[in-house]
Amino acid sequence: MSRERRKRSIFEIMMEHMERLDDWAEELLESAERPSWDLRSCCLEPLWDVFVTDDEVLVTADLPYAQPETVEVEAMGENMIEISAKMERSVRFADFGITHRKGEFSSFRSRVRIPVPVETERMKIHFKRGILEVHLPRKKGYRIKIE
């Protein structure tokens, strides 16, 4: 890295802080308790998990009743992916034994935040026995020699 550092303007520094605040607010919102379903979009949120290894990030999701040909993973920027799939049959609240709500769900949708930088364009997707596997290669960082 070059030793000369360009002097940054106060606005640049402020913008950086604002961005960090935005990220933090988004994370807080995501962690807030909310139902695992959304009536407006008729979506259920699947169970998912993120596992970080040395060279990749593995995201898995449990998608029962999903039609394999409709399973989609979309990169939403650098640190977020969106998983979606249509279900073979729709389920109603009544199927869960719930009578005080009305509504039907026909697909899965979930946004998953990726905790470390990854190369989303090299993402690989497998769907086996109802479980989705998304492999995201981690970005290589630079090394600094010990002086």
Binding site: L44, L47, D62, P64, K128, I131
Partner: protein, 130 residues
């Protein structure tokens, strides 16, 4: 297990509360759980049985770590049926596998967040033995 997706027939391991029960498991051709530990209610039951010298066995099937796994349950039940020479039909459990996974979604989510809250990961901490 990590690679549960690639495992067609999950393995079942057995644990016993006494020498006799371990012998029984061996006779029935079960692999004994030699490494690792058991937690939760069944661990307590096993411990009390050992203290009171009662014969008890625990059957543990390889399963998904974070997802409901009716297939793994079916395999464990099948092994139990084989040990006790009883006929237990698990076809319903397998047929309704997807339905169970869908229904168990919220309770599993709740379980995961509770496990995080009670610092379940402490189990993996390395102890300070010198």
């Amino acid at each position: 297990v990590q690679n549960r997706q690639d495992v067609k027939e999950p393995k079942v391991f057995g644990a016993g509360s006494s020498e006799d029960s371990i012998k029984l498991l061996r006779e029935k051709g079960l692999e004994i759980l030699n490494e690792g530990f058991i937690v939760g209610p069944q661990a307590l039951i096993m411990r009390y049985c050992t203290e009171r010298e009662l014969t008890a066995i625990a059957l543990l099937a390889q399963s998904f770590f974070k997802y409901p796994d009716p297939e793994a349950s079916a395999v464990a039940i099948k092994k139990f049926a084989a040990i006790t020479d009883k006929k237990i039909d698990v076809s319903d459990l397998l047929e309704k596998g997807e339905e169970i996974r869908l229904r168990a979604r919220d309770i599993m989510r709740r379980t995961q967040s509770e496990l995080n809250r009670m610092k379940k990961s402490q189990e993996y901490d390395l102890p300070l033995y010198v």
